[in-house]
Symmetry: C2
Amino acid sequence: MPITLALDAMGGDYGPPVVAPAALALLARHPDLTLILVGQEEVVRAELARRHKGDHPRIVLKHASEVVGMADPPALAVRVKKDSSMRVAINLVKSGEANACVSAGNTGALMAIAHFVLKMLPGIERPAIVTSVPNLNGHVHLLDLGANIDCSPQQLLQFAIMGSILVTATEMKQRPTVGLLNVGTEAIKGNDLIKETSRLLQGSGLNYVGYVEGDAIYTGKIDIIVCNGFVGNVALKASEGLAQMVSHTLREAFNRSLFTRLSGLAARPVLTAFRKKVDHRRYNGASLIGLNGTVIKSHGSADIVAFGYAIEEAISEVMNAVPQHIHKELAPLYERPGL
Amino acid sequence: MPITLALDAMGGDYGPPVVAPAALALLARHPDLTLILVGQEEVVRAELARRHKGDHPRIVLKHASEVVGMADPPALAVRVKKDSSMRVAINLVKSGEANACVSAGNTGALMAIAHFVLKMLPGIERPAIVTSVPNLNGHVHLLDLGANIDCSPQQLLQFAIMGSILVTATEMKQRPTVGLLNVGTEAIKGNDLIKETSRLLQGSGLNYVGYVEGDAIYTGKIDIIVCNGFVGNVALKASEGLAQMVSHTLREAFNRSLFTRLSGLAARPVLTAFRKKVDHRRYNGASLIGLNGTVIKSHGSADIVAFGYAIEEAISEVMNAVPQHIHKELAPLYERPGL
């Protein structure tokens, strides 16, 4: 099926030097894919020219005169920078010219613009950021990851509903399990907000399994873990930091002496397989869920490989029609008593 | 220097089968140490008898008829179970019969009882849980880890002050650096509570470096990271889960075939050193800081080795007179303008 994606070519820590080569790599892998690169046209064109002779038949350049900075307040990004690469990329989703968009830019601005331009699906107050995290039992979908610092119990319930629909749509899994992140699994744990959320989840008809602790992200057999954006963001970034430390420590341990270097050589195929398995770049590409349209957020520091995975995530969500599924499923869910 | 510690022998997932052998191991390492094992005397005595012939000259048994359950509400533990092993162990600190106590029991109950019996140091509203987390640059002190789910900016400031004093006292480090955990490092990130906390920290006279993200726990060069107990608890437990997954994945990768098993054999010394470095048991033993006395919380699922490290932490804090330092340092800090 032909898919057209809009890429915010100016977003993230690197901009065109990451987005342009990632785009070329993905076009080579997906013959039905067309990519619209949105940004300062001369800069993007120069970056493409360094890596590809002549114009690529499936790349469209779309000029946008402004760039949203990583520290720009979301309100400024929405109200003032109306010709930013981020805004223009999202406009292309709104107009139907692109099936989805991908940006490595400022998360708060991306959420605010996407919310303003695309609007929420009925029954959802605010977008959430969701990503799949690799774990001992495959992976878990964790949300929210930073779009909403403070969340009401009703919002957390909406996250659980959206997460369930996402997992059912993309993984053909009926009644995926939902856990609520807390500081303990006993009923007395947590504050009033957590307890009220648990009560709502119990009455929701979802496959709610109760409270889970932080370690369940990696060792649990749960399909969806729900938390507010502050907690989810810290948990995910702490994990990234720990994974970096582990990889650094392992490399250092094998470099200590001639003997350890030789044993590292012997173990190299295993270590390479291991590193690939825990490489967080493979899990880059979080979805801004709850919107009338698919918007994928790449990590700001994503390299070419990582940004490529974010584009893959966009393709998968378009092929699985995630927003349409959420739209279709939400109405009957909201008619249940108690919601 | 002679040190006497009270151990809650009934606490944690295992109770006496972990506490008794850990106690014997630590007594063998520390000739000046005396341990009071508090709990159901017959059970503790039987457990000791299985591992040590005759009475140990530096073990004192102290009977306590009740046990605080892992799911007991803190209020019940304080008001009703007045003869619990946890309560009696803390009473021994209050009376001066023990220099500190160690428990692997219910965190909420431990905090409530310690707060009720020992009282807070002047200028501190509530105890915080702090532990040292190993990272790329040595380690970082992270607090709070779950004692306080919701924290005011004033409380977070108190955590920063206590953490700074702890690091100065135990590591002879003048003006240790303090970071505030947030969802981004830019000034616009975070909610009002975080921004107000940052303002207080800026005016505190502490060596405050600003916002840090979750990855800074493992990759940052900060001495103390401050956050509320919900966030700290999730970050720490998520890290434990990830470390478990890494260790499992690595073991599995080396067990896949005869070739990988042989290469694992070659790499064994390196892998053992690596595992030791990331073994979270070595960092077991969190301090309930801010109290008139030293109370160490062991992980509930601690094994014998891990519980031993919690006892070591108690010994170190007693030798460094941490509560006395906090007491001594707090008064002038609170006289600074703006606090």
